[in-house]
Assembly symmetry: C2
């Protein structure tokens, strides 16, 4: 038996839906040559990551092995797969491979961050292959809710691995390539060692519906509308954007694109040729001169994002356009868990304006981009892998997918982030547990999720903050009274007096009764002052604030 091995290591995406980052390696243990599949982002929220801009997987393990990395392959242009390429490029400096549309988006990101866009190389579809150390890698087209999504065919001396990327089984996807069962059967005919497989919709029991099925319902809705029609969907769902635009066009409406991402995605699709025959669009300025019943706006913000075009239209005028009584707003999208409140907020704002909102509760105006359970089984059947490793899912999705694999005669492996799987030989095994986590892009810096920075922000949000300033003279005696500032706390409490006055009084008394040994000792004094603030605030307003103590010694 060779001492070389084939490894699979998820750093992100196996245990959550988001921040995908997978590693494959081949070579002697510890000396494997590595390839990285996808470098995506996840999105922060107030609950767990307030103030953070973006979240990426902790790539410390990769950075330590920078010299072993042959290449990065990006399966498709969704943010949770491509969003981290520019943020990680300085640390990894590995060549990036992607198909034309994905590369177009990746290069824009590299440009924005001042990185060379020629670090991104455009690769054609299978049978084209890239050689990357011991690996050869090809992009096998598959349908998804963005053009040119591809599975990766990863060959190594240990055999062929198929990394599905995100996919659905769609033979009429509108824009982009259809699922081609003959092509897939041909690629997999000589045996596949492992299928690393999307698990997002594993709990959806019905076969997924084609993108082509939403067109007629949307056209009917738009043609029956009296006022202005505004529709939102993920901008990257170029097929849907086109379906919406065509529906507007057929109803004799001028099409307007609103929102940066909407314009960028349409532009990238046309530039790269993945989309053709997009209806003419007019600018928001031109739209102002067109009767509202002749307008169809396609806008960003399907998830209720506060700054997106949808939310701005819900609040008032956006680029000179305002929605009114009798207009129609269509969510041609599904709300991602966690975004419900934002979406509901704008629906209510539209309601206040008399705008009728149609969402996907009827099931007619949106289809998912991921394979449902029967479609996963379709892929299992065409790939016929020995081993199935679910990815792109929370723990519950991965576990369910493993159960399905085991029930259908494959070896299912539940590998979460940090679990390195040795795929060599006949039985996959856990080779190692690697420390993983999340890195926050915060302003212009990166911070570790467990650094305590965000924990402190959350504490200030929950408890408020008090600053205490004390000046001691050269004999360690208090000079004047302690000074208190409070932020995020009630101005008055139980006693009716201002909270800061109560705290200052209690701190004065504490200093008055403190022994010289305490006043001389920074740690003791700090701890004592903090304790007094927290106790006193607890009595006065029922909260224990975060406290910053500044002791200035004139000595």
């Amino acid at each position: 038996m060779s001492s070389e091995r084939l490894i699979y290591l998820p750093l992100g995406g196996a245990g959550e839906i988001g921040m995908n980052a997978y590693v494959y390696g081949y070579g002697k243990p510890g000396k494997e040559r590595l390839i990285v599949v996808d470098l995506g982002v996840a999105f922060p929220d107030m609950d767990g990551s307030p103030g953070v801009d973006l979240i990426i997987a902790d790539i410390a393990w990769l950075v330590e092995r920078k010299d072993q990395i042959e290449a990065v392959f990006i399966t498709h242009a969704h943010e949770d797969h491509v969003g981290g390429v520019a943020h990680t490029y300085a640390q990894l400096q590995a060549p990036i491979y992607a198909r034309k549309f994905t590369a177009n988006i990746a290069k824009r990101k590299m440009d924005e961050h001042g990185h060379p866009d020629d670090a991104v190389t455009v690769v054609g579809a299978w049978p084209e292959q890239i050689s990357a150390g011991p690996f050869t890698v090809g992009f096998l087209p598959i349908s998804h809710s963005i053009p040119e999504s591809s599975a990766l065919v990863i060959d190594s001396p240990e055999g062929r691995v198929i990394h599905s990327g995100d996919f659905k089984i769609d033979r009429t996807p509108g824009v982009g390539e259809a699922y081609d069962p003959e092509l897939w059967a041909d690629v997999c005919k000589d045996g596949v060692k492992a299928l690393v497989c999307d698990s997002t919709n594993v709990f959806s029991q019905d076969p997924g519906r084609s993108e082509a099925t939403v067109g007629p319902a949307i056209e009917e809705l738009v043609s029956a509308a009296d006022g202005m029609v505004v529709a939102t969907t993920f901008a990257s769902n170029v097929a849907r954007v086109k379906t919406l635009a065509v529906a507007g066009d057929k109803a004799g409406r001028s099409v307007v694109l609103l929102g940066r991402a909407m314009k960028r995605m349409v532009e990238a699709s046309l530039e790269t040729g993945v989309m053709k025959d997009f209806p003419n669009v007019v600018s928001p300025e031109e739209a102002r001169g067109i009767p509202r019943e002749n307008l169809m706006l396609l806008v960003t913000g399907s998830q209720g994002e506060r700054r997106a075009a949808s939310a701005q239209l819900a609040r008032g005028k956006y680029q000179g356009i305002e929605m009114k009584e009798g207009d129609l707003f269509l969510f041609s999208s599904k709300t991602i868990p966690g975004n419900e409140k934002g979406v509901i907020r704008i629906i209510n704002q539209f309601s206040e304006r008399g705008v009728d909102v149609v969402d996907d509760s009827s099931g007619n105006y949106h289809v998912s981009g991921h394979a449902n359970r029967p479609d996963l089984e379709t892929l299992h059947d065409v790939v016929k892998p020995q081993v199935l490793i679910p990815m792109h899912g929370e723990h519950r999705h991965l576990r369910e997918h493993v159960k399905i694999a085991d029930a259908r005669g494959m070896t299912g492996v539940l590998a979460v982030n940090g679990m390195m799987i040795d795929l060599s030989g006949n039985q996959p095994k856990v080779a190692e547990y690697v420390e993983t986590g999340r890195t926050y892009i915060d302003g212009s810096v990166q911070i570790g999720a467990l650094d305590g920075v965000v924990r402190d922000r959350i504490r200030m949000a929950l408890n408020g903050h008090v600053t205490v300033t004390v000046i001691l003279d050269d004999e360690d005696e208090p000079l004047g009274d302690p000074w208190v500032d409070a932020m995020g706390l009630s101005e008055t409490g139980k006693s009716g007096a201002p909270l800061v006055d109560v705290l200052e009084e209690d701190l004065s008394q504490f200093l008055g009764r403190s022994k010289a040994a305490t006043l001389r000792d920074d740690t003791k004094l700090n701890d004592g002052l903090k304790r007094v603030v927290r106790q006193s605030a607890q009595e006065e307003i029922g909260k224990k604030p975060e406290v910053t103590v500044v002791v200035s010694r004139l000595s």
Copy 2:
């Protein structure tokens, strides 16, 4: 025409689902005698109200008219209807009327807050009536997801108003009273001026299902389970709690109640006699000696609340009990929008333990407590009001309900919080706009939602916080260097040096180049120091923190 008028004024609950608080008045304008219907709470979240404990409607308008208030009536014991009685009692000091079960819960709240529990008077069901100034008020039983939910029959010289409370049309509710169409027809036979009506499920097109329909599915699930079964639902849904307990009992399992609310609600139901024949329960201590396949736990935390029993079991041992591979966890509940992430978190934690989780995606294990659209129409038809005023809904629900009313020949009135409606005469009209809002229960104090306190917390959470301390001598010259403390910010930034060092250096330079006029002027100096911190942090880490400046003058 009389100069007296009948008014309706929602202070909370008309524009949101939560913090219900409605006012009716009768008398000369400005001198109306008032009754209050429900005093509920809403729940805070990190997005909008971090650190807050509970939210109630701003009752300033009522407090100013304290002497005009005759009584408070509570329709049922859900927190969004009764949760605010104790928090507002000191300010309103009006007698509180409720039926036995609701009063039991209300009295417990009064006790906990040190208020006299005899302020709460128990009222029997219709035809019993309470006289309250110009009003007589009766509690008309109707089914809901809690025992003894009642509509209010509010009579005044201007005629009869029916305030529906929360309801569903259920003739087999399990625990509590069934909807009785004959009784309702009798009460409404002489004409109803206005129906103020629950709107929660106005978008649900199918007739609602009875509580009785979930029993068989739950019994089947529980009897087929191999390991321990744990189920969660709203504790106040006493009928469901009983259904679950009976399912366990029938399957030969000992029933355990976990969580304070679960025990309190079962206790209150038995005490007041609204529930009978509850299976025997065993304590968690006793449960430890019983084989896991013979246990059925009923636990709090259907919404994924971090401190509830469900979340604790998901994380590990709770009261000596631990869930294991092969156990079953049942959500006999629906996730309220906004709580998805918390619920998904515990589902994944259970998945990691090998626990199978069943939720209501099949529709078999839960039914709603609110009337769907056809059921709303059933109530409209029996009440036959001249005017329909939707309540208990977001704007979109109220608007939809008004559309239905208008289409069905009633006069629909869209009245949101603060809109006082004059119901006298033949056509309802807006009498006045009253300032309303939200009051936060924060620790032991109340703060206004717009006081800026919570806004500051959110800003600290998003931007971090910096404290700057500067000491000036008696000639207004800086004594030593400025001192910087940072909380919730990256320790280092672009330059690689500690952030606080960079800020201190930039502040020193600012002080060095400041003119005497600036150093003498507190406002100028403060503004300058803040500006330097924000600019310098922006350059170094790409964030503009909140800043507290403390300037100490030794002069």
